[in-house]
């Protein structure tokens, strides 16, 4: 009897291992959770301050929760949200007028919730009747995914094919572990865009398809070879599974907090190791400590060499590998206390550092459009202060947008200028700047004198409202 049970059990186990769902079944069951997302990308218009040029776009959406949570590529909103993310720098407003078209043709309005540039996903929420339950995809962990595994991709074709679904069988041809784990499929050309669903042979969702980030700068050796690639990059479910449970919400200011140490770094090359007599092959040399960052508070210094963080020894010998440390820091929750092993002037030190979340980026800063003068100002956020190496207490407001045909534009105001004085009154911060400008807007003065700072140079801009 016992042996019979074990045989049955083994049989079930075997069938589980060997079982591959028929592709048609996989397609049909996943199809209903793939939707077409249309929206308007709002590019800041340089002809009218405070207004946007709308561009209609389409993306593939994946329903990830029954109440109508849809996951799309993060490129729906190409703006950096914090100091450690590179989400792009296009002047863009939050995307609007989302519509989600389901496989059955039913269409629902939706709104933008938030995005995460590390996970490269964004979330939108459908406005469907409260009791509606939508067919959704559940992602599974991918630890046992291997090269040679058969997979399926489900995408939507472009507009001239009526966004019809495209189902393709592939094989995983490569798995890249660093700087982030990714699966690659060879010889691939994408259909509509990023965001397609990736399923294993059992029909379980294991990841999403990424857009290829084309970088034409060819800064690094080998960039040109990379440019010629035609791989499908797949983000494994681990990148975003936690976000599906607790999606970022821009309106409620619940953004995914990114842990931040506050340094710039380079690798400890073998030559530097020998010259500086460092007792370890590889490490991270700190070459900038941002003021008031966790690193600055822990009194880390330029020239310090980080040998290890907690139990992870840093064996980094090339600048290309420094992303490892960045990812390590990002893997900690913000507010976590970490232990750094530091080499400084021949001695080993242990430093405890309490991480914080990365400063928010200018793209998220509060804005104040001044269409009468022809510009939009924003808070001078830390990312700009750090980027331009300005003193922390630099007074002023950041010029985010300029209408070239406006009084300010004609006067020569430029995007990126920092306005420090208006008519002789110093602007300390954003609130103060708004007050001063508002007071002027109701005044009768026809000409204003702006003292601006740009690239460490001051100059004067005359805004003549009669122009």
């Amino acid at each position: 009897m016992k042996s019979l049970i074990s045989i049955i059990l083994i049989g079930i186990l075997f069938s589980e291992i060997l079982y591959s769902a028929p592709p048609k079944e996989i397609y049909l069951s996943a199809r209903n959770s793939i939707c077409l997302v249309s929206f308007y990308q709002n590019m800041a218009s340089d002809s009218k301050i405070g207004s946007f040029d709308k561009i209609k776009k389409y993306r593939i959406g994946i329903l990830v929760r029954p109440e109508g949570l849809v996951m799309v590529s993060n490129d729906v909103y190409p703006v950096s949200l914090d100091f450690v993310s590179s989400g792009g720098s296009l002047l863009s407003g939050i995307p609007t007028e989302f519509k989600v078209k389901m496989a059955d043709g039913q269409e629902y309005p939706a709104h933008f919730l938030g995005k995460d540039d590390q996970a490269r996903v964004a979330f939108i929420k459908m406005h469907s009747p409260r009791d509606d339950i939508h067919p959704f995809i559940e992602f599974v962990p991918t630890l046992n995914v291997e090269i040679t595994d058969s997979i399926y991709t489900l995408e939507l074709l472009a507009q001239n094919y009526n966004f019809s679904p495209l189902f393709t069988g592939h094989q995983i041809n490569a798995i890249v572990e660093s700087p982030q784990r990714k699966f690659l499929v060879n010889n691939f050309s994408p259909a509509l865009s990023a965001g397609g669903l990736v399923l294993n042979r059992h029909g379980q969702a294991i990841g999403v398809m990424l857009t290829q980030a084309f970088d034409f700068t060819f800064m690094q050796p080998g960039d040109f070879e990379d440019f010629q690639k035609s791989y499908l990059e797949i983000a494994p479910s681990e990148w975003f599974m936690d976000l599906i449970k607790d999606p970022p919400n821009l309106q409620e200011n619940q953004l995914s907090q990114k842990s931040w140490l506050g340094i710039q770094m380079q690798a400890l090359t073998p030559e530097l190791k020998e010259y500086l007599k460092v007792p370890q092959d590889g490490g991270i040399i700190i070459n900038q400590v941002f003021p008031e960052s966790p690193a600055a508070k822990a009194k880390l210094k330029i020239g310090d060499i980080i040998l290890a963080i907690d139990d992870s020894t840093l064996l980094i010998k090339e600048d290309e590998q420094t992303a490892q440390l960045r990812n390590l820091i990002l893997s900690y929750p913000p507010q976590e206390e970490i232990q750094l092993k530091i080499f400084r002037e021949g001695k080993i030190l242990q430093k405890k550092v309490k991480l914080t979340s990365a400063p928010k980026a200018i793209g998220l800063a509060e804005s104040f459009p001044v269409p009468e003068w022809g510009f939009e100002i924003r808070e001078l956020t830390r990312d700009i202060v750090y980027r331009d190496n300005l003193p922390l207490n630099t007074p002023g407001v950041f010029v985010y947008q300029v209408d070239r045909a406006s009084p300010a534009g004609i006067g020569g105001l430029q995007i990126g200028d920092i306005i420090q004085e208006i008519d002789g009154r110093e602007i300390n911060d954003f609130t103060n700047g708004k007050e001063i400008i508002s007071a002027h807007l109701s005044g009768t003065r026809q000409m204003h004198l702006l003292k601006v700072l740009s690239n460490h140079h001051t100059r004067f801009v005359f805004v003549d409202l009669r122009k």
Binding site: N287, H457, F460
Partner: protein, 471 residues
């Protein structure tokens, strides 16, 4: 000699006067007969030909062999340009951009003779360069030379000829009028011509006659052709000869021009006048003070209105007025305190400022061959783009792929601030440090460079470099 007789002048100094008188007699005879019969058009044609004939023999075709570093690799590029002899000693005026980074210069004269020339001096700020023919190669002949005119008396609408020598033996002439005598190119960080206005002409100026003379109908040089505008028609620009003459005189004395510096960046006063509703306001607005500059040390501030320099009143209504004021400042004697009067908050104040030599000197690039590294001295352009806080260091203009510097992580665009803990102030000093390390190399050369406001550290294993080289 036939050619000489046709052109008739300056070619043979001994026969000079006799020839002139012969021409005058001949000329008056011809004129006496023809003049009553000629139309104004024929008269103009004759004047053009006469002017051409006066200058043509002094035109020089210049072929500099230029050293360029493309991705750190040393290459020689052959470029061409024009120039003109302006003295019997064989001095030639041309553009800085024609002979920039040239190691050797060869010149083809009107008589097909090819002579070598040495670079006497070159000034990027005005795009003027002086080179000198090696006259020994010419034998007993004295070179023909041009007469320099007066560019201050030019008038808009006046006829001019742009001459050049685009190819070895060919000479070209194009005609036009002076379109403008006060063209200003906005200082867009490049500071292409901070000290002068340009002569604009519709006579065709192209790469071939760049460096050649712009002449009036008396055959006198009034400008040096400097640049045309790509894809634009009838826009040529020339450097006024009065400025070129002054620069040339300084270049003939020393190798480069060191201007005086007090560190002011200027803006016209016109809008401030409207803003303050004070139409009588004169002066020039100080927009910015260079860090660590004499002006900053003296206590001058952005927003001050500069009224006079050593009691010479200054006034800039428009951008076009700025070069002349910049020039007054750069011509101040370095050793003497200057008095600058400014207007601040309704009151006038005087500042005593001791000008310094400007912190930027033009020098040719320097190649550290063993390290695969090319450096040059800082320029104002580099200083402004990188937002530097001081004037120390040398700029890495190229690194050679696969060589020590590149492997150590150094990049083009970095500023070397110290080598083996010796602070690097300028190119001269860097060369000495490099030399010392070459003669007696320690194990490592350790660099501290500045990259986007942050330090970057790099070490080159000099013993390994030496071992690799001796292989």
């Amino acid at each position: 000699m036939k050619l000489v007789n046709i052109f008739g002048i300056h070619n043979d100094m001994n026969n000079h006067n006799r020839k002139i008188s012969r021409y005058i007699i001949l000329g008056s005879l011809i004129l006496g007969i023809i003049l009553p019969l000629t139309s104004p058009a024929q008269d103009l044609q004759q004047r053009i030909l006469d002017a051409r004939n006066k200058v043509m023999p002094a035109l020089v075709h210049i072929e500099p062999v230029r050293t360029v570093f493309s991705t750190g690799e040393k290459r020689h590029a052959l470029v061409t340009g024009s120039g003109f002899i302006f003295s019997p000693e064989g001095y030639i005026l041309t553009n800085h951009h024609v002979v920039e980074n040239a190691e050797k210069v060869s010149c083809t004269l009107y008589n097909k003779k090819k002579l070598s020339a040495e670079i006497i001096g070159s000034d990027p700020s005005t795009d003027v360069a002086v080179i000198k023919l090696n006259l020994e190669e010419m034998g007993d002949e004295t070179p023909p030379f041009v007469e320099l005119g007066n560019s201050d008396s030019l008038e808009v609408g006046q006829f001019v000829l742009a001459m050049g020598s685009p190819l070895g033996l060919s000479r070209s002439v194009s005609m036009g009028v002076i379109s403008s005598i006060d063209r200003y190119f906005e200082d867009s960080g490049m500071m292409i011509s901070p000290y002068n206005l340009w002569i604009q002409t519709d006579a065709a100026i192209n790469p071939g006659n760049s460096g050649g003379p712009l002449i009036n109908l008396e055959g006198k040089v009034v400008g040096i052709n400097a640049r045309g505008v790509f894809m634009a028609e009838n826009l040529g620009f020339a450097i006024p000869i009065n400025l070129a003459r002054e620069v040339a005189e300084k270049l003939q004395l020393g190798n480069s021009i060191r201007r005086s510096w007090i560190g002011l960046e200027l803006q016209p006063v016109k809008e401030l006048r409207e803003y303050l509703d004070q139409p009588e306001l004169q002066g020039v607005l100080i927009a910015n003070l260079d860090p660590l500059s004499p002006g900053e040390k003296a206590g001058m501030k952005p927003g001050d209105l500069l009224l006079s320099i050593n009691q010479i009143p200054v006034n800039a209504n428009y951008d076009e007025d700025l070069p002349a004021i910049r020039k007054i400042i750069t011509d101040l004697p370095v050793s003497q305190e200057a008095t600058l009067e400014v207007w601040r908050n309704g009151k006038t104040r005087k500042f005593s400022v001791q000008p310094k030599p400007e912190p930027f000197i033009f020098q040719t690039e320097f190649e550290c061959e063993d390290w695969g590294l090319v450096v040059k001295s800082l320029t104002r352009n580099i200083f402004e783009i990188l937002g530097l806080a001081d004037y120390d260091g040398v700029y890495i203009s190229a690194v050679k792929n696969g060589e020590a510097a590149e492997r150590a992580g150094l990049q083009a665009g970095d500023i070397i601030r110290s080598v083996n803990h010796t602070p690097i102030e300028n190119l001269e000093q860097f060369k000495k440090v490099y030399q010392t390390l070459q003669e007696d190399p320690p194990r490592f050369a350790y660099f501290e460079v500045l990259r986007q406001y942050s330090p970057y550290f790099a070490a080159i294993d000099l013993h390994k470099v030496r071992a690799d080289k001796s292989k």
